[in-house]
């Protein structure tokens, strides 16, 4: 990945002034100058593999954001004593609100992307990612999940004049005790009431799978976000300063890549407990070496180039040389490994959940898969098949996107984008 041929017209580094020429420059369409990254991304999106991958990721994102409206024991709308109300909205917790708000902000920014400058886009994106969840966490209290079946009872007793249910009528925590049948113990096969069956303590599998999209996305992005930050900083310093910093850094990379991360995760879970955020941090801490490696190679390549020397000569502080001059030019290989990294982080989390060491009481694909083979030798095929397909499709999608990105960047594939 050391030599990447640039698309025509972009042979210079980002931000370098246009080549002065004697003749009148040809009239260009009035458009903001595009980042190389933007060009790479738009070329990637044209590939079939990337489109399939993005489509499935979009489905997962949709399920994650609108989970309470898709699967909930509380109706979307009820009419009680002549007045309409919405139990779903009344019972939203901070994560629901934060996700909806972030989605709204993301859509707004997408439409404003031509008006706002790149810097403001970056600041508002990063700002809202950090601020919105914190604000929501302090404003909206955690809701209790007690008596989730009460709306079904109210409807049965005729207390409600009108009810609009969510497409799936069960919350992930709803163990359906009101419909418990001694002759049909849980887990139950797929039926009319539960399209994909129920799990061991009676919650709807489909509902849990929809809510589990959140964990999959969160682990993918938070864990790999941490890994990218560590990897880019370490790799950048190694590549830019070279010499003994590089030697020391490479030893660090070697140490971390020779620790089998699965065993380290087990150790951490054993000593610190089964906490979702801790698991994300550990995945991040153990998987940064790949990013460091790629960033180092890019920085080594760029450190003696003219635009960097010019920046240093004109007295730009070192951190700005590193992060505003070199980094944007050396970010693309990181993007490829980020896509593969998100896939493997999702895999690691579902593996932990499968081993029974994942976060407690949270809906997760891996923990559903864990219940498929009973200790007594029984096999509940619906608990193996559906969550397994969900994990597989998500991992496959990220890998497809990663491969499309790599093909776009690969000079051998230039001009053969399909």
């Amino acid at each position: 990945m050391s030599s990447i041929s640039l698309p025509p017209g972009l042979a210079g580094p980002i931000g370098s002034p246009a080549q002065p020429s004697g003749e009148a420059p040809p009239r260009l369409p009035r458009e903001a100058p595009k980042f190389w990254l933007a060009i790479v991304l738009s070329q990637t999106v044209r590939r079939t593999g990337a489109r399939i991958g993005l489509a499935w990721v979009a489905v997962v994102v949709f399920c994650a954001v609108f989970a309470p409206f898709l699967a909930n024991s509380r109706p979307l709308l009820i009419k009680q004593n002549g007045a309409w109300s919405s139990p779903v909205i009344q019972s939203m917790n901070w994560a629901d609100v934060a996700l909806l708000l972030l989605t709204a902000i993301a859509i707004t920014l997408f439409f404003l992307r031509r008006i706002l400058s790149g810097r403001w886009l970056a600041i508002s994106t990063l700002g809202s990612i950090f601020i919105v969840p914190i604000v929501c966490y302090h404003v909206f209290p955690e809701q209790d999940n007690a008596r989730l079946g009460r709306f079904r009872q109210m409807q049965a007793s005729g207390e409600l004049q009108n009810v609009v249910w969510a497409p799936i009528r069960y919350s992930p925590e709803d163990h359906q005790r009101d419909s418990f049948d001694r002759n049909r113990p849980h887990p139950q096969k797929p039926s009319d009431a539960n399209a994909l069956g129920t799990e061991r303590i009676g919650a709807s599998v489909l509902s849990r799978m929809i809510h589990a999209c959140r964990i999959a996305l969160a682990v993918g992005f938070i864990a790999e976000g941490i890994a990218v930050v560590i990897g880019v900083i370490v790799g950048g310093l190694m590549g830019y300063f070279a010499g003994w910093v590089d030697l020391l850094g490479m030893r660090l990379v070697e140490i971390f890549s020779s620790i089998p991360s699965m065993y380290l995760l087990l150790t951490f879970v054993a000593f610190f407990g089964r906490d979702l955020y801790l698991i994300m941090v550990i995945i991040g801490i153990t998987s940064w070496t790949g990013y460091a490696y790629f960033t180092r190679a890019e920085f080594l390549r760029l450190r003696k180039q003219d635009f960097v020397l010019a920046a240093v000569a004109s007295g730009v502080p070192t951190w700005r040389v590193l992060f505003t001059h070199i980094l944007p030019n050396g970010l693309t290989p990181v993007l490829v490994s980020l896509s593969f990294g998100v896939a493997s982080a999702i895999l690691v989390e579902s593996t932990l959940s499968f081993l029974g060491l994942g976060p407690e009481d949270t809906a997760s694909w891996g923990s559903l898969l864990n219940q498929a083979v009973a200790a007594g030798g029984g096999f509940y095929w619906w608990l193996a098949t559906f969550p397994g397909i969900a994990i597989f499709l998500t991992v496959f999608s990220y890998n497809l996107i990663g491969e499309a990105l790599r093909d776009t960047l690969d000079p051998r594939f230039q001009g053969r984008a399909r």
Binding site: G49, I255, F272, L347, T351, G356
Partner: protein, 357 residues
Amino acid sequence: MLNYVIRRLLLIFPTLIGITLVVFGTMSLSPGGVGANLLSEEGSMRPQEREARRKYLNQRFGLDKPFVVQYGRWLNNVLPIGWKYNDAGVSTGVGFKVPDLGRSFVRERPVVDMIAESLPATLLLNVLTIPFIYAIAITSGVYAAKNQGKWMDVGTGTAFLALWSIPSMWAGVMLIGFFASKDYVQIFPTGGLHSTESGTMQFLPAWGANGFSRGYLLDAVWHLTAPVLTMTYGGFAFMSKVMRASVLDNLSADFVRTARAKGVSDRVTLFRHVLRNSILPLITMASSLLPGLLGGSIIVERIFSINGMGRLGLTAIEQRDSEVVLSITLVASMLTLTSILIADFCYTIADPRVSYE
């Protein structure tokens, strides 16, 4: 070469110290530190028992000493070479010794014994898996590269990406659920490495008085098929893609054009010139494959009820047997380190151009 070997061996030490620091740091930074199991079970322990454990922890870790001393003491204990102490805690000099990985308080046994029992199963799984991965990857990679752009190549490319994305726990659960159950198809055994009656079997399969007996060897093969299959497919799918890219790279290299121009046949070019150069990235890749394989064997051991290190670790976590968990991580890291080293040496043998002067 000798120079390189020595340098490589010297570099183990910083890596070793780094790994042990991470492992020990995890333990001592955790809530309650090393002595946590003393506190959490305080109520349920008899006074003498607690006193014995406290004495053990103080002697082993020196809990009243600063972190550096604690770490040094622990490191000295787990290394196979260092200061030896007798039972009374008096130094008897420097030399080789049996590494002391601590005691399991749940099973009342030294951890070294428990690991010695479970390590062979894990090693067997991993050692069996690697040749399969490489054989399939090299064959299919060369085949795909030879037919570059044809539908076979494109098809296997996507199929291998899909295969690589299949979580191994899903594959394992589906295999054991559908192919080892009375309700569906019963091809594979439900778990373990041997049948219970394998002790009385003769070694090789044979036709006896009462029909066919599969013998010890075939019995083991039968038990190993599903676990090895689960561990193999992801690896060869990934490696095959690496191999294909590498063969393609070499096919367009100058030395291949020269060989063709001299009139060397396609076959000889491919197998004598290209293949040897193309395997090099696969050897490099081994260093990232091996930690993954070791981690994957935890899942496989769990699904197929094989008494290996991963299963030992999982039970230890459930029982909060901290020193067992710690030792297993340490042993797994050592294994990875050793295998990376072996891969490095293989690389220098396979590629005479590599010089580390």
